[in-house]
Symmetry: C2
Subunit: 278 residues, 2 copies
Amino acid sequence: MAELITSLQNPRIKSLVRLRNRRERDRTQRFLIEGYRELRRAVDRRVPVETLFVCEDLFLGSNEPQLIHDARSTGAEFIEVGADAFTKVSYRDRPEGLIAVAHQFETDLSSLESAPNALYLIVESIEKPGNLGTMLRTADAAGVTAVIVADPTTDPFNPNVVRASLGCLFTVPLAIASTGDARSWLAESGTRIVATTPDTSTLLWDCDLSGPVAIVVGSEQYGLSREWLEGAHDRVRIPMGGDADSLNAAMAAGVALFEAVRQRSRLLPTHNGEDNGS
Amino acid sequence: MAELITSLQNPRIKSLVRLRNRRERDRTQRFLIEGYRELRRAVDRRVPVETLFVCEDLFLGSNEPQLIHDARSTGAEFIEVGADAFTKVSYRDRPEGLIAVAHQFETDLSSLESAPNALYLIVESIEKPGNLGTMLRTADAAGVTAVIVADPTTDPFNPNVVRASLGCLFTVPLAIASTGDARSWLAESGTRIVATTPDTSTLLWDCDLSGPVAIVVGSEQYGLSREWLEGAHDRVRIPMGGDADSLNAAMAAGVALFEAVRQRSRLLPTHNGEDNGS
């Protein structure tokens, strides 16, 4: 029978809380996964969960015991935490009674599998964890081959990335690399680099996105670096019709990715769309 | 010379803070505008600013005096607040030294101007202010004719809507209405209603969005109501390729709006796109 932790001074709780801090995540190569959906996706994708902190009183649904069983069967340690202490260590307004400590997984470019007609999202130096998480969720929905985070400012293992991605951090193949390494890797695989920028006359939908392609989006504040802009095969812009003249970085990534999805759907032989006159 | 307020007990400060509360906003028909960009857009669009709370020590740029001048010339009262007090009443991590109290503006359907070939975004019962704000910002970028919030759950005058919209709450024509009134109004103007839903086989890009059209998106948790789904001329879905099988509601709105923008750009005579073989 596991002991019940009720004190925030407990060393296991203290080490849990320290993982909110990037330096501690980098040092230990661990990170936090909070919430049912997020942990479900992590366990399904065999993310190595080391410890599971659980507070049954806070469960929102009825599927938690199965998830806990699945996590424990892969070797995760199980620790029960009282509701008061759990609520205090939770990152959520409405805690769901599940926080895991997991090993950071491999994010080398070499861990990505090659794919014919690949569609990559390249994210350069995004600053806000919420934006990076939304991009991962959107990239998952668009069915990308992989997301590559180039020269990261935000740590992809930040708890707010896990949360905003709804666990898509675990479902989308992910690599972290320098801009130089990412560009070399894309060149080797014959992938066309398409940079998004307001400073070009080419509209997004006038660019052929149907072959192997990497769509590159820049940081919220500075956009793309010269290295990505000048090294791109195409530079495209999303036309702005309004006053504010900007889209959120994650929104720009989503609009570009789904334009690629649209163009690719046009290539399927069974399609009934506008282009073949049906 | 204006007095300098340094106490949180000051009645002007207390009435400012109360406007974070929806009931108080409804009762007084006032709301808060914080931040340089947001207030700049409000003043440019002649949103009636009643009082301007200013802390010069917190200014981030050099354009604030001009903005204050512009706001005061429309009759706004000017109140100086000490840095400590201002930081405490600010809604921001990094306050910019500007918070205004403004009159809520007209949001009746009758306030919307008609437009040929209109493009509307209809937002039903969105729950998160951040999502509604992002939708307003995206709708501005897409150059929509107006946004109509149907059966609002979130108050569009919530400070987090102002913030996430970056002030596009003031640049995009906006109406708030019941679903019944919004549908009647759209029917009268001969606008095609296109509902977004995962439960249809029609893909977004197989639907003609080039005429007068209203794209309708539902709430984060429940999607669209039966009334919108069954009353729609078309039901369309954004195809999902990944594991998580969902897009954020604001992202879905953005992808749909920019598909409409794409189709409309195809109608322009000077266009050099794929469809005319150039």
